[in-house]
Subunit: 189 residues, 2 copies
DNA sequence: TTGATTATTTGACCTATATCAAACTCTTTC
DNA sequence: GAAAGAGTTTGATATAGGTCAAATAATCAA
């Protein structure tokens, strides 16, 4: 079966016709490691879904340092939700961490589908709502004051990140230096 | 004119009929200072809008300390967006900072209206999108590493908060202690 | 108005984490 | 499979901001 269909299925029943329409709107693209998927400040043209690979999103802070905001893996949507619907500039960059296969649909295709099948308005709302509540959770984790506790919470909630992502990216994601992260992991702090 | 109508007007044209319908769905409520508007963990029953007053939202962190997540003033919606649509438990508490007048509509009324006037699906999406992009901005501010810079950014972006909210609440909002905030303000740090 | 409560400031001290520097280890690539 | 380049660890040192305690200032309720 199609992984994007599987994903949508967790939110709604999909009819045969809807399924065919959705599959008809999907394109694929391959990306090598360290390839830019979208750029901060650009208007996002695609809503993507990861078939294989991994992606990180980041921005450059006031000192020019990269600050990672999220990591995405297979079977997850890769959509800048805060800017895709209303076509406002994206707040972060997205770049592959590994060779990555994506499927995607354009803004026009996406919202054209939504007009043809208005029941999916609710699905989209559902997805957005889930995304929002994940963001709330994430903010709480990021606000934990001790570096060690932030690391341990990440280890508990999203161990895959620790297994798959180089520590230097995880460090900025957890708002600590690489050295502190290393010491925290070695339980030397 | 009605402040909630004014607010919605910034996102769409409103017909006479729609306006009458909307106004028909609005209820009012008065709250004294330090009154709980919604409780963390509860299912949010109301989408509110502040006519007069101020509200803060917070949760209790791992050490039991209150951590403020937002401040809301007149002419702003007070809706737990991450939980209202899908009726999942709210992630924070909301409590008045001053005597406050709200108008509100229930979840049923809200989504009933949306079914009668499907064009407002887009309005809702627009509002959510704006909210999401504000959240992204806010996370960036909260991740600025120097306490003084976080304070100065808040002073620049939302000076009303500093004018109206007691420092102890602002301190936790900015992820610093009350003492540090006091010193930062006195430029002694 | 006054006493009580709440909010804010100031001081002294301490500690978690940043910074800087260097070593070590693991991956690519030619 | 050697050399180059990432990625990670370790050590020494510095410092921003936390903690605890007390003084002052502002606000509130009777």
């Amino acid at each position: 079966m199609h992984p994007a269909i599987d994903f949508i299925s967790t939110f709604t029943e999909i009819s045969e016709q809807e399924m065919r329409t959705i599959i008809g709107l999907l394109h694929t693209s391959s990306h090598k490691k360290n390839e830019l998927i979208y750029r901060q400040g650009s208007i996002p043209k695609r809503a993507s879904f990861i078939i294989k690979g991994a992606v990180r999103s980041f921005y450059n802070d006031e000192n020019g340092n990269e600050r990672n905001t999220a990591f995405y893996f297979e079977n997850q949507p890769l959509i800048p939700f805060d800017s895709f619907a209303e076509q406002i500039p994206v707040s972060v960059n997205a770049i592959t961490l590994e060779p990555t296969e994506l499927i995607w649909t354009s803004h026009n295709e996406f919202f054209g589908f939504l007009e043809s099948f208005p029941k999916y308005e609710k699905v989209l709302r559902n997805i957005l709502s889930k995304y929002l509540s994940m963001q709330s959770e994430k903010m709480k984790i990021q606000r934990i004051s001790s570096a060690r506790d932030r690391y341990e919470m990440l280890n508990k909630m999203q161990p895959e990140i620790i297994k798959r992502v180089p520590l230097k990216y995880i460090a900025s994601y957890l708002d600590m230096t690489l050295e502190t992260l290393s010491r925290v992991r070695a339980a030397k702090l």
